[in-house]
Symmetry: C2
Subunit: 729 residues, 2 copies
């Protein structure tokens, strides 16, 4: 039993019952924002008196009836079985097999406050095998989270419930990240652990370790097979994330049957190769002490993440379906539920939590409040001694940007030298990193091409975790998912990550999850068109702008010059609940008259116009590197006596959100003579140019040649715009 003592102790602290924020409030405003919420009576000495309580509590725990633990574990199993049965949909197998690990984590090991799921210093838990979400819902319910009451369990997988089919952080306070697509969760967990290590290195003092929590994850065979998890786990070891502890639910069953049919590698050896500490718990079904001992051992290994392989039986307890794929993703069925009740000696009605189990878990509400209060007191102490650091840490916890931060953004005039937007992006990143304490990130081994290095910082590394340049290696997919974890660690962390725009194809699943889980990651995507030249069609994005414009809750920005790049960063930093994708050029672009930060904020705006009465002869619309071409064509057409409006449509999503009046002022319905130009697929432009207009773009793959040559060969030229415009007006 000793294994769990050190962290259990905290869970047994009783103390302040300060009222905490409702978990339904947005996470941006934490208790710390109001000093009054910090329990002023707590002090170091009080912490000292807690030490005695801890010892007493540990002894108490040692006496906890082993039968009660079994009962608690079976409660988790049956809440899961019952919820899946009621929904007639879901995955009972994992919760039944992993209930022991879940119990030990939430009841004995983890430090959290059920009444404030957003308490900053909580331990993080990620169910990477997200289909087993009833495990997590059952645990949150037992622990006293308001987000999962009995009625929520009964509404599992129903419209509007807090208990959707996979864990969703934006629906269920207590759920840290959104999982389900396999492998994402473990990569998110790496991001959470990175954030902890980074903040601890920046803010902890010898006398006050103000940032100090663990990150736990459960992953299944499916997660292990996905490439993203290997990428993320390679990085976790490289970075020495010692406070990341992952449980591998080794149950030998996946949807298609025994893992023997497709998964016969030695996961242990692979993880040793990656640089992890690996422990094997052979009896995950009832070996509570082994699980506890493994966690203790994992915590003792400070310089490596630990994989605890826990061999379990999927659907443990079901006499006829355990250890088979049939229990993975379907309700057991009434008959088998009965048989399982009999088999495990469970006489209760569905959804029933026995009184002694309820009683046993009830301590987590006061204990959690005490943990937070204790930490708040620690923070008050920290604040007294380390004023400056405390202000910065607070801003990270609360996500408050420094006043006037946007003034740091560079501005440009048409006289500013022409430059690639990737370089202008680097100017913005470096300007912002000086003033925004939570900006950190890097590239998938393309820092010098993506231009993402923060010059005033070194590399975030195992022995330099306080630095802010993250070297992801050639691992795009995990890079995105790690950034999701960083963004969701606390509201003030603003991760950015970078690769060539075409390689968003490698990380699209992670980017979609940024959008879904409301993680405001900034995707710095350079080499955004055929303009990258010689690398050829494997490297030249075509359909990518369209494909992100079609994705919900993500901003696709394609700035044309310096001011627009600055505007794109302003938008990206402000949008903390939706990610931004910045498509940036490899090639130099002039700073255009009329471009502006304010224009970018509206998504689309007029950069030049010689018409009156909102009725130009023709509207030319461009984005990014082709806005220059549209502007040139406009100049030529004006020489021919036409009235021409040139519009930058830098971000369609923002433009869509403007008032009808504003949209009409930019793209008046009466003007059907419209020509768009963009070095990408014309897909989607039909709605902008209308049935009479013309969209100039590229609806084939690119080619390997110098950029200028490809532009000419593909007809992405001012001449083409002029010809199309003349045909329309």
């Amino acid at each position: 039993m000793a294994a769990a003592t050190s962290s259990l102790s905290h869970a047994f602290l009783s103390g302040s019952t300060t009222t905490h924020r409702s978990p339904h409030q947005p996470p941006h405003r934490l208790a710390l924002t109001k000093k009054t919420r910090v329990a002023p009576s707590l002090s170091i000495s009080r912490v000292g008196s807690h030490a005695a309580a801890i010892r007493a509590a540990a002894e108490t725990l040692n006496k906890v009836d082993a039968g009660l633990v079994d009962k608690s574990v079976n409660t988790i199993r049956f809440l899961s079985i019952d919820a899946v049965e009621k929904a007639n949909s879901g995955h009972p197998g994992l919760p039944m097999g992993c209930a022991p690990v879940g119990h030990v984590l939430y009841d004995e090991v983890m430090r959290y406050n059920p009444k404030n799921p957003y308490w900053f210093n909580r331990d993080r838990f990620v169910l990477s095998a997200g289909h087993g979400c009833m495990l997590q819902y059952a645990l949150l319910h037992l622990a006293g989270y308001d987000s999962v009451k009995e009625e929520d369990l009964k509404a599992f997988r129903q419209w509007g419930s807090k208990t959707p089919g996979h864990p969703e952080n934006f629906e269920t306070p207590g759920v840290e990240v959104t999982t389900g697509p396999l492998g994402q969760g473990i990569a998110n967990a790496v991001g959470l652990a990175l954030a902890e290590k980074h903040l601890a290195a920046r803010f902890n003092k010898p006398d006050n370790e103000i940032v100090d929590h663990y990150t736990y994850a459960i992953l299944g065979d499916g997660c292990q097979m996905e490439g993203i998890s290997n990428e993320a786990c390679s990085l976790a070891a490289h970075w020495g994330l010692g406070k990341l502890i992952a449980f591998y639910d080794d149950n030998h069953i996946s949807i298609d049957g025994d893992t023997e049919i497709a998964f016969t590698e030695s996961v242990d050896t692979r993880f040793e190769g990656l640089g992890w500490h690996v422990i094997w718990v052979k009896n995950g079904n009832t070996g509570y002490d082994d699980i506890r001992a493994a966690i203790k051992e994992a915590k003792a290994v400070k310089d490596k993440p630990t994989l605890i392989k826990v061999t379990t039986t999927i659907g443990y307890g079901s006499p006829n379906k355990a250890n088979s794929y049939s229990v993975h993703g379907s309700a057991l069925g009434a008959k088998e539920v009965d048989a399982t009740r009999k088999n495990l000696g469970w006489p209760y009605e569905p959804f029933h939590v026995p009184d002694d189990v309820k009683e046993h878990w009830s301590r987590h509400v006061p204990d959690g409040a005490a943990l937070e209060a204790e930490w708040n007191a620690k923070f008050v102490d920290y604040e007294k001694k380390y004023k400056e650091e405390a202000v910065e840490l607070k801003s990270l916890i609360n996500g408050e940007l420094p006043a006037g931060w946007e003034k740091a953004l560079p501005t440009y005039t048409p006289d500013s030298p022409a430059d690639a937007t990737r370089n202008l992006s680097q100017q913005c990143l470096n300007a912002l990193a000086k003033i925004i304490p939570g900006l950190l990130g890097g590239s998938a081994d393309l820092a010098s091409s993506n231009m993402t290095l923060l010059k005033m910082f070194g590399d975030f590394q195992k022995d330099a975790p306080e630095e802010r340049n993250v070297r992801f290696g050639v691992r795009e997919h995990s890079m995105g998912a790690i950034c999701n974890g960083i963004a969701l660690h606390c509201p003030g962390l603003i991760p950015y990550c970078a690769t060539f725009f075409v390689f968003t194809d490698y990380m699209r699943a992670a980017m979609r999850l940024s959008a879904l889980c409301e993680a405001g990651v900034i995707y710095v995507m350079t080499h955004d068109s055929i303009g990258l030249g010689e690398d050829g069609p494997t490297h030249q994005p075509i359909e990518h702008l369209s494909s992100f414009r079609a994705m919900p809750n993500i901003l696709m920005l394609r700035p044309a010059d310096g001011n627009e790049t600055a505007g794109a960063y302003k938008v990206a930093v402000l949008n903390r609940k939706r990610p931004s994708v910045l498509a940036l050029s490899r090639q130099k672009l002039p700073n255009l008259p009329g471009s502006s930060i304010a224009g970018v904020e509206k998504g689309g705006y007029v950069i030049s116009d010689n018409s009156v009465g909102n009725k130009p002869d023709v509207i030319l619309i461009g984005t990014g590197s082709e806005l220059e071409i549209a502007a040139k064509a406009g100049d030529e057409l004006r020489k021919d006596g036409k009235t021409v409006r040139v519009v930058s449509l830098v971000c369609w999503e923002l433009f869509d959100e403007q008032s009808d009046a504003y949209k009409e002022s930019v793209l008046p319905a009466a003007v059907s003579a419209r020509v768009s130009i963009e070095a990408g697929s014309t897909f989607g432009w039909g709605k902008i140019v209308g049935s009479k207009g013309k969209a100039i773009g590229i609806d084939r793959f690119g080619a390997s040649a110098p950029a200028g040559k490809i532009y000419r060969e593909f007809g992405i030229t001012a001449e083409a715009v002029i010809e199309a415009a003349k045909a329309l007006c």
Copy 2:
């Protein structure tokens, strides 16, 4: 030297100089199609006489001046240096470091015929680290391939050249697959090796191993970091692909600098964990004998793929840039080129191949012809003894579909029972597998959800490689890339693969490469909308239809019922040079009056109409599961006296390719009252419904609830269509 003898021997065979097909012909018609091309004089005894030649040749080789090998290797280095220098663009570092491996492979080990790059039984080579393509171009040039003449080397990375910035199979005969996006190539190589093992198991006889070749690959640190390569290599070992030999160019440098900054795992240990045989060649720069010995050892290990880690110096020979990232992706510059010439003792002009090197390599043209002729003779022998098998193998080599194959497709009437298109898809797959010998594939651990099992076959496994159900495990990305390799192995192999439609996000990079490299993979993507219900927004595709419609050279098909599913398979099987994506429902759908295979072939067609003169009051347009809704709405509107046309727009790409007259007959320009309905993003529909029409769809993420509930809540209903239609007409 003995190491390489066994395979080298073949390269020294001299023999027939039969004229072979031009490599510029499409690969679909191979020498075998015309029996006359099989050199009739070759026979088993002739092969016997070759044995003596082999021994003599081996002895000759042993006497080959070691200096000549150095010279050949330096030729490869300088052709690469010179081409990159002339283009002022490209990656000299890898070719300079890997020239020794390249030399040993192409000059000593591999069996190929330069004048017929599509000879069926050739060894396959994949440069997974595709940026180093000058290595491959230099080797193809030396070996005598017509695709890479001196002028092609001089046109490296220029418009219209055969030597693009990354290897492209569709541009350069001799290049097997398209690489550059890292990690894809090794997964393609796994596909090629799978194809060999599968065909060998099906067709080889104790007295005639008609299918018998190796697959070689070179991968770099970047490939190793990508998750896709771990997925693919896990499968390669699971399947026991003993004839896959991969060289890991262990040069410690990636674009951002020393791999120490992001890649410190033990690759050796990881591969041992995956189940590979691992060999380390410590001196890859000059250790020719070690490379040879490693290959010999690799070939001796029959039940495991082998990773040969070759430690090299990137940019070997460059006195000031070797072993640094600066030599990875930029021209050396005139000064350093001179210094390198001096350092390696290379007095020649750019692009010069010394006479003795030329002479040494010149044997590959006659030897290659002899190898093919010898194999052709073997085939004649095979044909005599195993008539039936020979016919089938020929059809696989030539890609000829059996006459009348399409008659195997099931057809349906409105009286056929309602069914999910995923089930109808399984009916098609099983019907086709009976008649098409090259159809094989499987799912990413969702076979029972995707409905992809071929009932008459078992699982393709290490010890059952003749079977056709491939179990990919939860490895979508490598699944796609492996299928690309299978498709490009020979024209008659038609791989399909499956997962939930939303998880195309995991494999999009591989799917884009299917499109680019003209691999006719069939992507069976089920659970294609919110109609999947309770699994919720992580599993519900929204933007995916749009995102594939925007991608070049890929067919996005969304069939509505049985006939349309059959039509989708007809299209997919016929399109051998572009991949098809089939979006299929989880939920049951009725068989609609008016649906047809022929309609699908046109991409869009009228399924019902009560108007005359091509002027309905309103056109309702649907796809997949929403075509039923459009049809219902049409019925209701007709009851109200409207003339209504209902159109199925099952494949936009095919519809776009129809004549203007046909398109006008389906969507007449004069009818602006158009309503579309699709349970996905409306992005892109603007062009179809026009500025006056209405697109009903979903521009937000989905939700977790029973499908019917979500459809109603999201307004994907006949009522919504009727209301929109009434507002328009």
